[in-house]
């Protein structure tokens, strides 16, 4: 079964220093254990994972917003 975008992003968040706690679309990235630097690292990892380019100024606050942002970029 192919992982959803949400699952893949959760794995990236965990790999980039996020907490092991369960993530939901409403979880704030800061609450997921990502400080500003780790957020950039997760964004860079997402770019590589999904083959897209994310503007630094996009500033998604929650996991769900990051999923939406990435899915919108993948459609383009």
């Amino acid at each position: 079964m192919a992982d959803t975008t949400f699952d893949r992003i959760c794995a990236i968040i965990r790999d980039n220093g996020g907490t092991g706690a369960e993530l939901t679309p409403e979880t704030k990235l800061a609450d997921a254990g990502l400080d500003s630097l780790a957020t950039v690292e997760a964004v860079i990892a997402c770019e590589d994972e999904f083959g897209i380019e994310i503007e630094t100024d996009s500033n998604p606050e929650t996991v769900g917003e990051l999923v939406e942002l990435i899915e919108s970029l993948m459609e383009n």
Binding site: D35, L37, V40, E41, D48, T56, D57
Partner: protein, 319 residues
């Protein structure tokens, strides 16, 4: 016409400032700084001037090259934090080491050394010089807001130099680029006291959009290495040493991962110096050379990136 590097040298101020020292007047800790930057300590000018450091680094590079100052045809200094707006830092170096060749500065922030290298390569190619001194010297401590824990912990002072001579295998590839963005990383110029100035003067303190610069740095390194490899017709696996600008250890790690290169081929000196802007690359080159880590015919990729946003990359062969 091409060049080869025949001597390197560097100089740091005496005063070490550890992360614990900073935590005495900033709300920060050694663990916080080290885990986010890879920096343990930096050197900061107290009694030394930047001229002192630039001269000491230059004299060491000349000694390593076995040359006298009078053998030089050109001195180019990379700096954005010189002791004087004029004359150029390079002129102060020329005066103190006893050279009488043309001397001027290049301003390209943290990419300054590679920009200077390309300028010098042009002088050699046009037959206007055979031996040149490139010195990168920065006193970042005077550009910092020492109450801003997000930036002042990142930088340090220091100088490093190399002597290049016409003839040789370098550069195998060289590229400069600018992605104009004066907002990401900047230091306002001298405020002055003109009675006619309409704008309120702002202090000359460094301001940085950290996330933007971090991401740019990773992208810049990866694009530059790919560009150098394409121009030279080699793969990243053929490069023996990667000397990237030492802004943040996590930028280096992220770039190495993205490039698929072993982390231990990426040189690191920033744990002991912090970011010394244009001096990072020649300082690291000198550290590797003096540590016996460089061997003849090895390939070295240099990538500098910083305010501008400027990127300079060069592939050289150690001879």
């Amino acid at each position: 016409m091409a060049f080869h590097i025949i001597g390197t040298g560097s100089a740091l101020p005496e005063q070490r400032i550890t992360n614990d020292d900073l935590s005495r007047f900033l709300d920060t800790t050694d663990e916080w700084i080290f885990s986010r930057t890879g920096i343990r300590e930096r050197r900061v000018c107290t009694h030394e001037t930047l001229d002192d450091l630039a001269v000491a680094a230059s004299e060491r590079a000349l000694a390593a090259a076995g040359l006298a100052a009078t053998d030089l045809d050109l001195i180019v200094c990379a700096t954005t934090s010189g002791d004087h707006l004029m004359p150029a830092e390079a002129c102060a170096v020329a005066e103190r080491i006893g050279a009488s060749c043309p001397a001027f500065d290049v301003s390209a922030a943290c990419a300054g050394f590679v920009f200077a290298l390309d300028v010098v390569d042009g002088f050699l190619a046009r037959g206007r010089a055979r031996r040149a001194l490139i010195v990168a010297a920065e006193q970042m401590s005077r550009l910092l807001d020492w109450s801003d824990r997000a930036t002042c912990v990142l930088f340090g002072d220091g100088a490093a130099a190399c002597v290049v001579e016409a003839g040789g295998a370098s550069p195998l590839a060289i590229e400069l680029s600018t992605t104009p963005d004066t907002d990401a990383l900047s230091v306002p110029g001298i405020a002055g006291t003109s009675p006619f100035a309409a704008a309120t003067p702002v202090p000359s303190a460094l301001a940085m959009k950290g996330q933007r610069v971090f991401k740019f740095g990773v992208q810049a390194i990866c694009d530059a290495v790919h560009g150098l490899c394409a121009e030279a017709g080699i793969g990243a696996a053929d490069i023996d040493h990667f000397i990237f600008h030492q802004a943040n250890d996590r930028i280096l790690t992220a770039a190495a991962q993205r490039l698929g290169i072993e982390d231990d081929r990426v040189a690191r000196t920033l744990h002991a110096t912090g970011n010394i802007s244009s001096a990072c690359i020649p300082y690291t080159l000198d550290a590797l050379a003096r540590g016996g880590r460089l061997h003849p015919s090895e390939l070295i990729a240099l990538v500098g990136f910083g305010a501008g946003l400027d990127v300079g990359s060069c592939l050289i062969r150690w001879e």
